[in-house]
Amino acid sequence: MNDSSILITRPNHDRPTNYLFYWSKPVIKTAEDRGFSILDLKGKKANKKALTSYFKRHKPKIVFFNGHGNIDVITGIDNQILIKANDNDDLLADKIIYARSCKSAKMLGENCVRNKKVIAYIGYINDFILLNDSEKVTKPLKDKIASYFLEPSNLVVKTLIKGNSPKEAYDRSQKESIRKIKHLLSPKTSKEEKSLVPYLWRNMKAQVLIN
């Protein structure tokens, strides 16, 4: 198994996926700096055929999904199904998964770890909520509002890339969410910024580690 490759899916067909598309770039940079080979299924390449082909030709240890989802699926470009529980989730065996998509930890993640020999699955049991600044949609990486939501989640994969365990990756992401929430609740921040907190709190509570 090639331990130093990472597969990333990042469709970009609507506003939230476009934000995830851009916010995956700092993770890719960290992986490159650490000598990882990047299997980047971006935009239209985030489809089931390409994903299956990549899994057959390469053996990535870490898989980072970005996109929409539901309890039993993760989707790619134009919401096409990439992975579905008890259909093709065997592809994920022996891998560490981080699914930045809604609800997939609830059933797909559980199934992967309990029945498909997935090492660990970090994901969400509820919707992933993202707030952004409408004036920054053309420059998502400059969007400070979105950064509150996406920096803690990026930390999951950055921590894994640095050789840490899934538990450490999960814990660091949770801690960073709490740090941001406490910062926003402090007297230094504006009422407007404080309005983000309930959504960050929801995401933090929805994020789970299954192993």
Binding site: H68, K103, D127, I178, R202
Partner: protein, 83 residues
Amino acid sequence: MNKKTKKILNEEELIQEDMKLLAIERLKSIPSNYQISVGGDGSFSRDEAIENVKNDSEIGKELIDVQIEFLRDMAQGELYKYE
């Protein structure tokens, strides 16, 4: 339906209405240039989010739930468990 059941239903409806009003007030504190994306269910401006709450849509119900969950957790000191 007996009187007691009717009374309980009315109380539940009142609580639901209060929660809705509370969520609307809290959504109003979001600046108008912020957009909210809830999973694959779409992206909304602040005012669209408020309309969803007013209209009892699924998104609206989720937005109420987010606010109520947060307020309940803070009242129960959940944040301090992370000290």
